[in-house]
């Protein structure tokens, strides 16, 4: 038996939390796939193409997450929470920048070397690694902001 009338909503405030799933999961999983591609010994042109698609998709969704974070989230937080929001935005900007640079290098390599997705492997690896660090920092501050300050749902008092 239900305790009351269930009301399901989808407001502007829900857009950013819905989109952030993609860059978090795809940057981390994509980096794992990229490492498998880089360090396995067999010829992996097809695997490189797979890693390339995941990287490009991760970059697009990271940009979308940043965009929705800037335009569709509120900014009237208390001082402590405001500091965390600034941290969160800084790390989100770094994440988007790093993953976009990695994707642009890969796309540039793909277009300038007759569709060879195995070019510029190590520069991409460096920026991908930095994107992984940044996305973890972004997610940590985002979690702290959401669960810690907006309501002490998961905090030990």
């Amino acid at each position: 038996m239900l305790h009351g009338k269930l009301i399901l909503k989808f407001t502007e405030a829900y857009i950013h939390p819905s989109v952030v799933h993609f860059p978090i999961a795809l940057i981390l999983t994509g980096f794992l796939i990229y490492c498998i591609y880089l360090f396995r010994k067999r010829d992996s042109r097809k695997f490189a193409l797979f890693a390339y698609y995941v990287l490009v998709f991760a970059a697009i969704t990271a940009f979308a997450a940043s965009f929705t974070g800037v335009y569709y989230t509120k900014e009237d937080y208390a001082d402590d929470a405001m500091r965390i929001l600034i941290d969160h935005r800084f790390w989100a900007m770094c994440t988007t920048l790093m993953i976009c640079i990695a994707a642009i290098i890969k796309i540039f390599g793909y277009l300038t070397t007759f569709k060879n997705v195995q070019s510029y492997n190590w520069p991409v690896f460096v920026f991908y690694s930095l994107a992984v660090i940044c996305v973890i920092m972004t997610a940590s501050s985002g979690t702290l902001l959401t669960f810690g300050y907006l309501k002490n749902a998961t905090f030990i008092p």
Binding site: L2, H3, G4, L6, L8, K9, F10, T11, A13, Y14, P17, S18, V20, H21, F22, I24, A25, L26, L28, T29, K46, F47, L49, F50, Y53, V54, F57, T61, A139, T143, T146, F147, G148, L150, K151, A153, T154, F155, I156
Partner: protein
């Protein structure tokens, strides 16, 4: 200070949701644009299994590490849990169909439409599960509108 275990479910659901949807897009692309490319079929199966694992972990952490709510929140939680179990069931069936194609038919491209149907159901279900979960977390517990 965090109760770390209470953040396991909100952390792991990113993988379940994103990988199921991305995996479905990749499988769709493979089926319609790279039909005869075995590598693409292999990668889509890899993504399918990875997304199945993501959903399994999300459901397990949801059962083990989230508390029971009361009143109307409990209703949302029950619906969210039922939908999550249905999603897990659907994605498991999808994985099993693909494994049957590989093991029984020795052909990774076999049973494409049956796979696509169950994969599509999984995507719809995970979107609805996430929607109800989002309403529970953001709308009721955090009161964000």
């Amino acid at each position: 200070m965090y109760k770390i275990e209470s953040l396991l479910h909100p952390g792991l659901i990113h993988f379940g949701i994103a990988l199921v949807i991305f995996g479905w897009i990749f499988y769709f692309f493979t089926l319609f644009f790279r039909k005869n490319d075995l590598s693409f079929h292999k990668f889509s199966v890899f993504l399918l299994l990875l997304s199945g694992l993501g959903v399994l972990l999300a459901v397990m952490t949801g059962i083990l590490f989230t508390g029971e709510y009361e009143g109307i929140d409990r209703d949302y939680q029950n619906i969210h849990m039922d939908l999550a179990h249905l999603t897990l069931f659907c994605i498991s069936i999808t994985c099993i169909i693909k494994l049957v194609a590989i093991v029984r038919y020795k052909n990774i491209t076999a049973l494409p439409w049956l796979t696509l149907i169950f994969y599509t159901f999984s995507v719809v279900l995970i979107v609805v599960t996430g929607y109800v979960g989002g309403n529970l977390a953001y709308g009721h517990l955090l009161n964000i509108h």
